[in-house]
C-alpha cells in the first residue's frame, strides 16, 4: 500500500504554489495511498525496450512563415489584468521585502 504523508503533500503543495488548510492536507494525504496504488499499476508491465510516447502525432518543429500578423493591442492584452499601471501588468513585489 502506497502512502504520502501530510508533510509530503505539504511540500508538493508548496511546489505547486497552492496554499492548503490543515484539513485539505490531511484529506489529500489519506486519499493518495489509494490513487497511487492504482496508478502504480503502470509498473507491473515489462517495459524494457519500449519507447515512450509523449504525443500521439509524429510532428516535429512545426513553424509558420516569419511574417508579422495582427495580434492583441496592449489594451486588449491588459483587459483581464487584476491590476495594471502605465500599460503594464502590475504585480505584487517579487524581490524580497520593500526597501
Amino acid at each position: 500500500m502506497s502512502s504520502l504523508s501530510r508533510d509530503e503533500v505539504a511540500k508538493l503543495a508548496g511546489l505547486a504554489r497552492i496554499e492548503m488548510t490543515e484539513e485539505e492536507l490531511v484529506n489529500l494525504s489519506s486519499q493518495f495511498g489509494m490513487i497511487l496504488d492504482a496508478v502504480a499499476r503502470v509498473q507491473e508491465v515489462d517495459l524494457t525496450g519500449v519507447k515512450a510516447t509523449s504525443h500521439p502525432q509524429p510532428l516535429e518543429n512545426v513553424a509558420r512563415p516569419d511574417v508579422v500578423l495582427p495580434s492583441l493591442s496592449p489594451q486588449d492584452a491588459l483587459s483581464g489584468a487584476p491590476a495594471q499601471e502605465e500599460s503594464r501588468f502590475r504585480v505584487p513585489q517579487i524581490l524580497g521585502e520593500a526597501e
Binding site: L12, R17, Q31, S54, P56, L59, S79, A83, P92
Partner: protein, 498 residues
Amino acid sequence: MIRKTAAQMADALAKGETTSVELTQAHLDRITAVDGQVKAFLHVDAEGALAQAKSVDTRRKSGEKLSPLAGIPLALKDVLAQKGVPTTAGSKILEGWCPPYDSTVVSKLKDAGVVIMGKTNMDEFAMGSSTENSGYGPTFNPWDLTRTPGGSSGGSAAAVSSFEAPLAIGSDTGGSIRQPAALTGIVGVRPTYGAVSRFGLIAYSSSLDQAGPFGRTVLDTALLHEVMAGHDPKDATSINAPVPAVVAAAKSGDVKGMKIGVIKQLQGEGYQKGVQARFDESLKELASLGAEIVEVDCPSFEYALAAYYLIAPSECSSNLARFDAMRYGLRTGDVNGASAEAVMSATRDAGFGREVKRRIILGTYALSSGYYDAYYGSAQKIRTLIIQDYAKAFTKADVLVSPTAPTTAYKIGEKVDDPMAMYLGDVATIPVNLAGICGMSLPAGLAEEDNLPVGFQIMAPAMQDHRLYQAGAALEAALLSKWGAPILDKAPALGGSK
C-alpha cells in the same frame, strides 16, 4: 420546432419556412423554461445570439449562399474562448473573465453563421466525469434530475438532450464528450487528435485534449464536425490535411462488408447488465446489416486508466501553472506588501476546486525527480503499447466497438467522495485519447433495470473519422426502425412540457 433535428431546421431555414431569429428565440424560451432544473448553461448570451441570428436572416434574404448550419443555434462548452463573453472553464479562478479573442472553433462557427446561444457548465478545467466538479454547481441529467449527465462536457450534453439546443460543442480528454453523450442519450464525437484546432481551448492535458461535436443524430453531429474541423496555423499540433468526408459518410450509412472489431478487454465483467445487453443487441443489428463481427485483443488496455491518471495530471500540473494571479483571472491576498509568491499561492487555493488541486498535486508528484521514470516515464511507455494494440486491431477490423461507459447515469453525490470509483467510469473511453484516434458514442437504447440511456462506442484510426459516421448512421437507422421513434421521446417531460 425545437424537437426537430438540426438538418431539418436547416432545411426549414433554406425554404424560408422559418427564420433564424424565430428558431433562436424558441430555444432561448426553452432555456428559460427548463434550465432552472437542468442547469446546463453558465451564461446565456440572448442578445448576442439574436443579433447573430438577425444577421444570418438578412444575409439569407439578400440571396447570399450560406453554410448548411447558418442560423442554427448552438451551446458552447465554457472551455472555449469567445471574445467578450464570460469564459470560466467551470472555475472560480476565471470568474468574470472575458477573453479578448475568439478560439479558432468559435471563429469557424461565426464564419459559418452558427448562432452561439451561451456557455455550458463543465467539470472545472474539464477534470471530472459528472460535472459535479464545476465551481458553479452541478448540471442535472434531463432523464432523471437526481442523476449526473456525465462529464466533463455535461452542460453541453444536457442542453442537447433537453432540447435547449440542437447542437453543442464539448471537449474530450479522457471521454468527456462520449461519456456524457452516452449518459444523456445523444450522439457525441471526439475527432482525431489534431483534427480540430486547440487554439483558444483552455488546456487541461495538451496531448489528449480535443474539441468535438454533440447532436441528437449522427448526421447533425457530422454537419457540426465539418464546420469545426480543419487545419489551423495557430495550433502547431493541427493536422494539415483535408477534413474526412464525414457528412457524406453519415448520409451513406452502409456497413455491408465492413469489419467490426469487438475489444475483448472492454466488455463483460464490470459492465452493468443492461449496458452489456444493449451493446450485444447493437452488434446483432450491425451483423444483420452485413457487417462482419470479429473479436480483437488489446491486452495493454488494462493499464490505460493508470497511464491516463499519470499523464493527464502531469500535463495539467504544468498547464495550470499559468493561473498565477498576474495577468488575468482571480487575484487574492494582494495586501500589505505580500510577495508575488504568497499572492499566487493564496489565489490558487481560493480559485481552484478540490479535484483540480488533487490532480495538480498528483502531477507534481509524478513529475518530481526520483519518481519521474517510475510514474510519468512508465505511463508514456504504456501509451506506446496501447497505440500498438490499436494498430494491430485495425489490421483485423475497420472500426472497433465497445460500450461507451460501464454504467448508466449515476446519482449526484454518489461518487464525489470516491475519486477512484469516478475514474473507473472512463475505462472504455480513455484508450482513444492515449492513442490520439477518434471515437463516437451513439444511443443504443435504455437499460431495462433503470430505464436510462446506454451508449455504443465506435472507434476508428486517426483521420478515418468518416468511418465512425458510416457505421454510426447504419446502426442509428436500424435501431430507429426497431424503436419506431427517437430515444429522446422516452425521456420524461421537463417543467410539465415536452
